[in-house]
Symmetry: C2
Subunit: 124 residues, 2 copies
DNA sequence: CTGTATCCTAAAGGATACTG
DNA sequence: CAGTATCCTTTAGGATACAG
C-alpha cells in the first residue's frame, strides 16, 4: 500500500509533482472510505461492530482492512480500551475531520444529482 | 456499468435508500475521473489528445472508457466537429461543472495533507 | 486525429469459517 | 467484542496493435 501518493494518477514518471487532488482521490477512491469517514464524522468514536452496522453491507475483512489503511494514512485513530471484553474505539484524527468539507460537498452534489437523475422509479 | 448508483457501497440490500455521498463516491472513485474533471474545469473544452496530454499517464483506452462513462453519467459533453480530420471536443455539462466545489475541496485538503505528510524528501 | 480490439495481470473486494 | 485466515471472483486498469 502506497502512502506517499506517488502512485496517484497524474503523477506520471515523476517529472510532474504529485497533485493534491490525486492524493485526496487516492484516499477517498477506496470503495468504502468515504462512507466510513462520513459515519465517523456523524457519530464520533465507534467500536468495530457499531461501525460495521452503520456502514451497511461491508464485511469484517474489508472493514478491518479499510480501517488499517485509514489509520496508516493518519485519518483514523484506533484506541484500545482495556475492558473485558476488550473494546476498540475508532475515531477521526484532525485529518479525518478536515475531510468534512469534502464529504459535505460530495453529499450535496449527490443529492442534487439524485434529484435530477434518480427520481425515476424505473431507475431502481 | 451501473448508472443508477445502486451498486454504491452502503446501499445494502435496498432497504436503505441510496446515499448521495456514495453516488458521488462512485463517480469520483474511478481512478482518473477526478483528474479529468479537474482538467476540464481548468481548461474548458478539449480534444481527445489535448486531454490526454494534460491528464498525464493515462492510456488511450482508459481515457476513452473514462470519457464514455462520464458522458453516460451526464458529466461530460462530447461534440463532434466535422472538420477534416475530425475533431471531437469534450467539455463539462452543468453537472460536471457543479463538481467544482468538490474538486476544490479535495485539492485543498490534499495540499494541506501533503504539506504535513509529504514534505519529507524520504517520502519520495 | 480519434478512437477500438485484444489480451493480460494485479489488486480489490466478497463469502465463509475460525480465533483470542 | 474484534478481528484473522483462506479462498475465490471480478474488474479496473495497462500494453500494444490496429482502424475509421
Amino acid at each position: 500500500m502506497d502512502l506517499t501518493g506517488n502512485d496517484a494518477p497524474g503523477c506520471g514518471t515523476g517529472r510532474r509533482r504529485r497533485r493534491p487532488l490525486s492524493v485526496t482521490a487516492t484516499v477517498l477512491g477506496k470503495k468504502w472510505h468515504p462512507l466510513i469517514v462520513s459515519v465517523l464524522l456523524e457519530a464520533g468514536a465507534l467500536g468495530f461492530n457499531e461501525l460495521k452496522e452503520r456502514v451497511q453491507g461491508i464485511s469484517d475483512k474489508v472493514l478491518s482492512e479499510s480501517l488499517d489503511d485509514l489509520e496508516e494514512r493518519d485519518l483514523v485513530d484506533r484506541t484500545v480500551i482495556d475492558d473485558k471484553p476488550v473494546r476498540v474505539e475508532y475515531s477521526l484524527t484532525e485529518w479525518g475531520e478536515q475531510l468534512e468539507l469534502v464529504v459535505t460537498a460530495m453529499d450535496e452534489w449527490g443529492k442534487r444529482y439524485l434529484d435530477a437523475h434518480g427520481t425515476d422509479p424505473a431507475a431502481d
